[in-house]
């Protein structure tokens, strides 16, 4: 697997790179890099409106990304955005503005990424909407409080898999209960799609947001899957070319399909690159990798605990292989920098989840997140790297 990823043969500070910052962004296989290269070298053109050959190829390349998304996730509507963050903001504007009213409640959780908090706080400032946060206890959502919060909620926004703890929330349960209570459901699947297969239709959620760059695809592109019933209720968000049917100085009419929400020249090369990533991933057995990686993560956790670290990740059966920890005295940034000096890339800080940090009672953690190209050797190098840090700081 590693040989598919050019960056993994790179040296950092004189050592072979061990990349364990996968929850932030994943690396790209050759085929993805080549697809974009090829697009720019052979087919680059603007899409949709022109009749010339390049424009046809560019349109096919871009729209193929959409068809692959619909196919892979079993969705009838896939809006292409710039990433999870824009996808969620799109829901807040295109659906929220039109369908939420003063006094309505939106349920969030303390485990959300800032991208699934701030858009709702901003909406709550434009309208008087009540935001109800489901607390986290022992690294999991407090489902009793969730149940109790449902009454009067019009929308439930929940992260499928936490980028800090790796915890995979009981979203099936959450969706069922929310639907029963008459609430729409938005799933932040940024960390989910890289780790498990998802059937959007079957899940029954209304919105599912994710980014290409966290699943071996390019930066600058992501998607929002939408149920038909929610799609019908969405008003345009950004205005411009490609999202209109007619424009006159007295008013405009809009496209009826996903293009309605894709104003302006779209992310064409990015769509081509993501399509290549989706095709590449269709040959990857995520489940097999998942069990392999969760075992590695559990081993790493055990070792870290025995070395005196506090580990916040529970690493349950279905959780992602994300190990968040702190050392009782070494500052996370010193820790990360000393690992980087050994070629090991991990992340430190609040991971864009400050409310969760507050709940955990820390200002930040060190996070090692494993992905399909990581193996036991990486874990060993990482643990040896930790030992060297502990020795140096002793």
């Amino acid at each position: 697997m590693k040989e598919d990823f050019p960056i993994l043969s790179r040296q950092v500070n004189g050592r072979n790179l061990v990349y364990l910052d996968n929850a932030a962004t994943t690396q790209k296989p050759h085929c993805v890099i080549d697809a974009m290269n090829q697009y720019y070298s052979l087919s680059n053109a603007n899409v949709h409106r022109a009749v010339h050959t390049l424009a046809g190829e560019a349109t096919e390349g871009y729209e193929k990304c959409r068809s692959l998304l619909k196919e892979r996730y079993n969705a009838s509507r896939a809006i292409i955005t710039s990433g999870t963050t824009e996808s969620i903001n799109l829901v807040a504007h295109a659906w929220g503005e039109a369908n939420l009213e003063d006094g309505d409640a939106v349920i969030l959780t303390e485990m959300e990424h800032h991208s699934d908090i701030v858009p709702w706080q901003m909406l709550a400032e434009r309208k008087s909407i009540e935001l109800r946060y489901v607390p986290v206890i022992d690294g999991n959502l407090d489902m009793d409080i969730f149940d109790a919060s449902l009454d009067g909620a019009k929308l439930v926004c929940v992260v499928h898999t936490s980028n800090v703890l790796g915890v995979r929330n009981p979203i099936e349960d959450i969706i069922t209960k929310s639907k029963l209570a008459g609430a729409k459901v938005l799933i932040d699947a940024a960390q989910a799609v890289p780790h498990e297969e998802i059937d959007f239709e079957k899940l029954g959620a209304d919105f599912l947001a994710f980014s290409a760059h966290k699943m071996c695809g390019p930066t600058g592109i992501g998607a929002l899957l939408v149920s038909e019933s929610a799609f019908e209720k969405m008003q345009p968000f950004m205005g411009g070319g490609d999202m209109i049917q007619t424009v006159s100085i007295t008013g405009s009419t809009y496209q009826v399909n996903e293009h309605k929400f894709e104003a302006g020249t779209p992310r064409i090369a990015e769509g081509v690159g993501w399509a290549a990533a989706l095709e590449w991933m269709s040959n990857i057995d995520l489940e097999k990798h998942h069990s392999r990686l969760i075992n590695i993560a559990r081993h790493v956790k055990q070792e870290l605990v025995s070395k005196g670290m506090t580990v916040y990740s529970q690493l349950g059966e279905k959780d992602a292989a994300v190990v968040s920890f702190t050392h009782p005295s070494i500052h996370p940034e010193d820790f990360a920098r000393l690992l980087d000096a050994q070629g090991i890339a991990v992340r430190t800080g609040h991971h864009c989840a400050q409310p969760l940090m507050e709940r955990l009672g820390v200002s930040g953690t060190i996070r090692a997140s494993f992905y399909i190209y990581n193996d036991e050797d990486d874990a060993t190098t990482f643990l040896n790297g930790i030992d060297r840090v502990l020795e140096a700081m002793a």
Partner: protein
């Protein structure tokens, strides 16, 4: 896929041509095969939506036989309509419903059109079959 003879002949004719310009010239020649739908019969039901140029189609069924009337402002679309006219006119409902739009790809016509245009063609094709199904 096996196509009706008249259609197969057209496909073969296109396949023989290499130069894309000539292919388009032949395509436009088929515009003379169109059984013209007069503008007075144009309405929202006959309009092909999603087509970049203006196009209209209408179906009549007589004694179980299907007849296509059509019109378009672009010559290439007229050409496509002409081919559809040959493939459809005077054939039975079931034969028409058995057609698929892939023949245009096989002939190398759709290849020469952009997706948005080929979508226009697919839309037109689907519309015709829907009209046939509804008129039964």
């Amino acid at each position: 896929m096996k196509w009706p003879d008249a259609l197969q002949e057209i496909i073969d004719e296109f396949k023989e041509i290499e130069d894309q310009f000539e292919k388009l010239e032949i395509l436009m020649d088929f515009s003379t095969e169109v059984d013209e739908l007069p503008t007075s019969d144009w309405n929202d039901e006959t309009l092909v939506k999603g087509c970049q140029s203006v196009a209209h189609v209408k179906i009549d069924i007589n004694d179980g036989k299907v007849w296509l009337k059509s019109a378009a402002d672009a010559k290439m679309v007229q050409g496509l309509q002409g081919i559809l006219t040959i493939a459809i006119n005077g054939n039975g409902v079931n034969e028409v419903l058995a057609l698929t739009p892939e023949f245009a790809e096989e002939a190398g016509i759709l290849n020469s059109l952009t997706p948005s245009r080929s979508n226009g063609f697919r839309t037109m094709f689907d519309m015709i079959q829907l009209m046939v199904r509804r008129s039964q």
